[in-house]
Symmetry: C2
Subunit: 398 residues, 2 copies
């Protein structure tokens, strides 16, 4: 069988995945390869292939032509594999130490062969298990500053930037976010999924016209603002971590969008973890939020000053205006993420994993309340300290 | 010679243009065709072909692979012909009565064969000759409401909209606007072109940091906001008119951008005409500005209410927010247009044609002052009456 010569898509098996690895000469000729499919089967096949002689290993990720979430299934473009591979390559130009190395891609087969990171943990899982990852926020702040700056009009020739906007047009994956983050949770929609005890809170939320108006503005920004190339799904489940390493994976939702979206999703997922644990243990997460923002702004500002090609980056006040707008967006998008992870289709284990019923419901109420507060007050929160003060004041009542 | 069988681009001549018209069977078989090239030779060839027997006529427009402006020449993509033809076809879906009919296009030859509109006048030329075009603003308000609404996320499935964003990515033509409208006039750049007597005013303008900051924000919006498919160059030179007809031509700058850009350019060019004539004759132009906005908002609002597919169009306050944002952008973009048409590379005959030196300089100073005022005050001008009051107060001193 010659996988690489075939011209039509076909899902790999553990056998054909090994054959592909051999064809690509990614292992020694005398390697003894062991292959396991380790994906969750919802969106992608993920093959872990290891040479049992020298312990070297790789990952082969292959997109499936459908998405399965909570029993539902709908067709989904294989193109997302190309988007993901290209986004990983773009990021590798600026933060090679923070993304997996890509060894090989094949658009037809929708596969990416890349570095195996299984010595690390998924950050969400680790955070739930009380791992603190002291370097997580410094690394993610750096990842965001560098990737978000370098793909923007601040740093690129506008013609080059527009070709990249075109390359990363990603309608199907964006639609998932438009529906599941910005729309369905704010209306009585069948995709929503929440516990009975939240019904009154959810109805209150659905009845808040002024909240919907603010979400409309945030959704509009997501739909129409091509500020830079985003990861597009930068929650703690898209990050591998250890005490000294951090790697951002799975940018299949990458597209040109507003900078605050990536930052907001990451911060919201730190806050979802904070909400799910005892209040006296939250301080390290608040520190992560604070460090994320300060590292991001320090490095973004430094790049702006030294590598900005847009002439207006030299005009006093423009950087400050841009950072203020990013902060406002960050807070608003974080608010949407908090709400949709509590009552929308895709939940987080941080909240759902709380065993005690009363504690879990209280945590979810806190998430809903904090989400709404952030969306409504985002223009008045002008620093990361303000944000943390707001967070503390909303969720102290548990 | 078989024009349509050739596979490489070649500029048409009057002879080959006629042969093409015959091949396309656009005239009777016994037609006696007369052809004249009537373009200005800067960007496109324009052939006017007429059957001398029945007086029927067509236009063949062919893009040239370069742009010539004020003696300079630079290469320019032929792709713009395809953009223009496709934009005309999109507009014809919504306002067929306000654009020329397209009979044929050929991407390889970069030609569009279309309705001959030479029974009409270019609106700029007519306005300079004191023609008032009573229906101009009603028609352009309608054109803008319908074209700008129907290509936006308010009206389109977001996946369809993103494919259109991709189709209309237009880096080279956008770059011309980015440079000549938003950048060069605000810096001491070699493309600028202004009269000696304006030197002090221009230096004042270049020294205004707070002005540059506001222009930076407007340029950012132009660079990053894909609200809808714009005409992209909607000044009075892109409009054919008579007392009862209006036709919008030349959308080769079409791309997905902010709604206020088209409206701002049109209104600015009405104001440039107003500035160039005696104050007591300006009222009909102010009425045109007012009618443009009221017709646009009435029809846009009606479409929003009846044909909005985005669920948030049903949320109270979102339409009002959107219109307010469009007005603010309109005023800011109009300010940039006033300035660049006075001191930038591409002037307008309204101002340059004022014979009396003193009057011309005063008019240009008024244009510069009004442009800056609109840019700086755009957030405080919350209605079209406010705008006209501001205009009157700035340019009354002549």
């Amino acid at each position: 069988m010659t996988i690489l010569n075939q011209s039509t898509y076909e899902p790999l098996t553990e056998d054909t995945a090994v054959k592909l690895a051999l064809q690509l000469s990614l292992f020694d000729t005398d390697a003894v390869l062991k292959c396991r499919e380790i994906g969750d089967g919802n969106l992608n096949l993920v093959f872990h292939i290891k040479d049992e002689i020298n312990q070297e290993s790789i990952i082969i990720k292959q997109a499936l032509p459908y998405a399965k979430v909570v029993g539902e299934s709908w067709p989904l473009t294989l193109q997302r594999n190309k988007i993901e591979a290209n986004a990983l390559k773009v990021a590798a130009n600026f933060v090679p130490e923070l993304v997996p190395e890509v060894y090989f891609t094949d658009e037809e087969l929708a596969i990416t062969v890349m570095e195996d990171l299984s010595h690390l943990e998924i950050a969400r899982k680790g955070l739930i298990e009380n791992h603190q990852y002291p370097l997580l926020s410094k690394h993610i702040g750096t990842y965001m500053a560098k990737t978000l700056f370098h793909s923007s009009d601040y740093a690129l020739d506008p013609k080059v930037k527009k070709e990249k906007v075109k390359e990363f047009i990603n309608p199907e994956l964006c639609k998932i976010t438009e529906d599941l983050v910005f729309t369905d949770p704010f209306f009585d929609h069948e995709t929503n999924n929440f516990e009975e005890d939240l019904l009154a809170n959810v109805h209150d939320l659905w009845n808040r016209t002024e909240l919907k108006l603010e979400v409309a503005k945030l959704k509009k920004k997501f739909l129409t603002n091509t500020e830079t190339l985003l990861h597009g799904d930068l929650h703690t489940g898209s990050i591998f971590a250890s005490s000294d390493e951090t790697k951002v994976i799975d940018p299949e939702f990458a597209f040109y969008g507003p900078i605050g979206f990536d930052i907001g999703q990451f911060i919201a997922n730190l806050l979802l973890n904070a909400i799910s644990i005892q209040s006296q243990k939250r301080e390290f997460l608040y520190n992560h939020v604070s460090t994320t923002w300060s590292v991001f702004t320090d490095q973004f500002s430094s790049l702006w000053e030294t590598e900005g090609v847009e002439i207006y980056t030299k005009v006093p006040g423009y950087l400050e205006f841009t950072l203020q707008e990013i902060l406002e967006d960050t807070i608003g998008f974080a608010g949407c993420e908090l709400i949709r992870r509590t009552i929308g289709l895709a939940h987080v284990a941080d909240l759902d994993g709380i065993v005690d019923h009363g504690q879990r419901i209280q945590a979810k109420k806190n998430a809903l309340l904090l989400g709404q507060t952030l969306i409504m007050n985002r223009k008045n929160i002008v620093s990361i300290d303000d944000l943390l003060q707001e967070v503390r004041s909303v969720i102290q009542n548990d």
